[in-house]
């Protein structure tokens, strides 16, 4: 048999995959990214990719009165916070700038100084409510990737959901209706800091208590997802 034969190539690929010798990198489970305030005078300008920030900053809208940049250690991610609005109606809008991963909108943003988590919407925007009066330009922020996600797909013939865990080793150990909520359980939820509900119509933090997450019946749809961080 020819060593380079099509059959041999296919068998090698088959064995490589079935034996688990090839593994893809899942960017979903990335370690957290820490953003520190960007200070121009401290930067080594030769190693710093100004082009990215410049490219983004020219897209500033007229309503933006002030912008601050924050950078990750590896320079792969940047955070831009704009002060928007005027006269008592001021709010902060942040945006993660990266070409590294498509799906940063599955992440949440954490501010250690305020011990507060923020959602990233589908357009990649983050509203930092109630922050405009603080010296937020000195704060640090963390982009937190999900520990896991659970896709809920309703079975057509009954009230049950098929629940797909992104990481099969972190599957749910219980799922039942209690009063007006669907309650899902896993011991690992005790280590979870935040849980987010996401469907076509609704996207928000959801109640996490001990080893369970309660999803109000009013939010239940045929297809939705819970992210835990």
């Amino acid at each position: 048999m020819d060593k380079n034969s099509e059959y041999n190539k296919q068998m090698e690929a088959f064995e490589e995959f079935l034996n688990g010798n090839w593994k893809s990198e899942d960017s979903f489970f990335h370690k957290k990214i820490v953003f520190l305030p960007f200070q121009l005078e401290k930067q080594n300008t030769q190693s710093f990719s100004f082009q990215r920030l410049a490219a983004d900053s020219i897209t500033q809208e007229k309503k933006v009165s002030q912008s601050h940049f924050y950078l990750s250690d590896d320079d792969d991610f940047a955070l831009k916070i704009d002060k928007r609005g005027a006269c008592g109606d001021v709010f902060l809008m942040a945006r993660v700038i990266t070409t590294k991963y498509d799906k940063v909108n599955n992440c949440i943003l954490y501010c250690p100084q305020a011990d507060k988590y923020f959602l990233i919407n589908n357009s990649g925007e983050i509203i930092l409510s109630g922050y405009s009066e603080f010296s937020y330009e000195k704060f640090s922020f963390e982009l937190i990737f999900p520990l896991n996600s659970f896709r809920f797909i309703k079975e057509s013939e009954n009230e049950n959901y098929l629940i797909i865990s992104r990481n099969p080793d972190f599957s749910l150990t219980d799922c039942s209706y209690i009063k007006d909520a669907l309650v899902v359980k896993n011991k690992k939820f005790k280590e979870v800091k935040a849980a987010v509900f996401k469907s076509d119509k609704y996207h928000d933090f959801i109640m996490l208590s001990g080893d369970e997450i309660k999803i109000p019946k009013a939010l239940l749809m045929n297809n939705f997802e819970i992210f835990v961080y």
Partner: protein, 334 residues
């Protein structure tokens, strides 16, 4: 999972069912990533391998009397039967991969209509001509007489494309005729097998349809379609560079390799804009690439060019109903 198999896929609890479904989706996601890694398929921007996996295996989880009937049926007729956990896991992975291969067309229908139309026309040609199809792990092979796949390898798709363009100045608008002509070429190449991998055929047809469409536009007496086409290419130039940058970042291309890719895209688009044939990938890589890993880089360029052709065909089809008619001429079998 093994416990389920031993109980003929009778599900004891929802927890067990959910765990099993999660494992299957995980295998499917990994296989889709493997096909992308092997240059066999590409995923449109808006689709992740995880979402694709859920779509492609959803049909497997039908339950009757607490039994996962599809899995039960498959493993009942499987010979030899897996006797250990390791054997079962291999058999299960293999089954899930075969399901993905069979269902890929449905995914293209929703997310990549250009590739869907091309594969549909290939299938039609295979039926008409009663060609053979042999399925292997990462691809299906089409051949018009029995082939021993242990005796050699298939001709590389870029070489086949080059030979076709050299042999046949005029490209037929009919997919069946193009496939016939391709077989005519490979059957004279004694050092290669007389078979074409389906995904290689898709790659070649995308390129030929792009050339044919350009050719059609070039031969218009009026200048309007030519100007329209050039504008489309200029628009694509900006959009595609942005799109491909994401891919290069994800794949950790070095700065030099990125520059090479951009230069190659620029050269190919210049050819398209001027209605001339692009050089082969080998020549493009020889001209622009200075690194050591030419083979691996060539594979990546083929991937990029396949994406580029898909984008061109997409914008022509979407651009204007009149030009969509022009395009239709090339993708619908007569």
């Amino acid at each position: 999972m093994y416990e389920l198999y031993r109980n003929d896929f009778k599900v004891k609890s929802r927890v067990q069912l959910n765990r099993f479904v999660s494992e299957i989706v995980s295998i499917a996601r990994e296989y889709i990533n493997y096909l992308v890694y092997k240059n066999k398929i590409y995923l449109p921007d808006e689709l992740t391998s995880y979402d694709a996996a859920i779509d492609l295996v959803a049909e497997l989880f039908s339950i009757e009397n607490n039994k996962l009937t599809t899995f039960s049926y498959h493993f009942k007729k499987l010979k030899p039967k897996p006797k250990t956990k390791a054997e079962f896991e291999r058999a299960l992975k293999s089954y899930v991969c075969s399901i993905i291969q069979n269902n890929l067309l449905g995914l293209y229908k929703i997310y990549d209509p250009i590739t869907f139309k091309i594969i549909r026309n290939i299938k039609k040609a295979v039926r008409e001509r009663e060609y053979y199809i042999t399925s292997y792990f990462t691809d299906k092979y089409i051949h018009r007489k029995p082939v021993d796949f242990k005796k050699g390898e298939c001709i590389h798709r870029e070489l086949l494309l080059t030979l076709y363009l050299k042999n046949d100045g005029s490209i037929s608008a009919n997919v069946t005729k193009i496939i016939d002509a391709l077989f005519g070429i490979i059957e004279t190449q004694k050092e290669y097998l007389s078979a074409i991998a389906l995904q290689d055929l898709v790659y070649i047809l995308k390129e030929l349809i792009t050339i044919k469409t350009e050719d059609y536009i070039k031969n218009f007496k009026s200048e309007e379609p030519k100007v329209f086409y050039k504008l489309l290419i200029q628009k694509l130039r900006k959009e595609f560079i942005f799109k491909i940058k994401k891919y290069l970042d994800k794949k950790n291309f070095s700065e030099n390799d990125c520059k090479c890719v951009y230069n190659i895209i620029e050269e190919v688009l210049n050819h398209y804009e001027n209605f001339t044939c692009r050089p082969s990938v080998r020549v493009l890589v020889e001209t622009h690439y200075r690194g050591k890993n030419k083979n691996s880089f060539s594979n990546k360029i083929e991937y990029v060019l396949s994406l580029l052709n898909t984008e061109i065909l997409k914008i022509i089809e979407e651009g204007n109903s009149y030009y969509a008619e022009v395009f239709k001429l090339q993708t619908e079998s007569e």
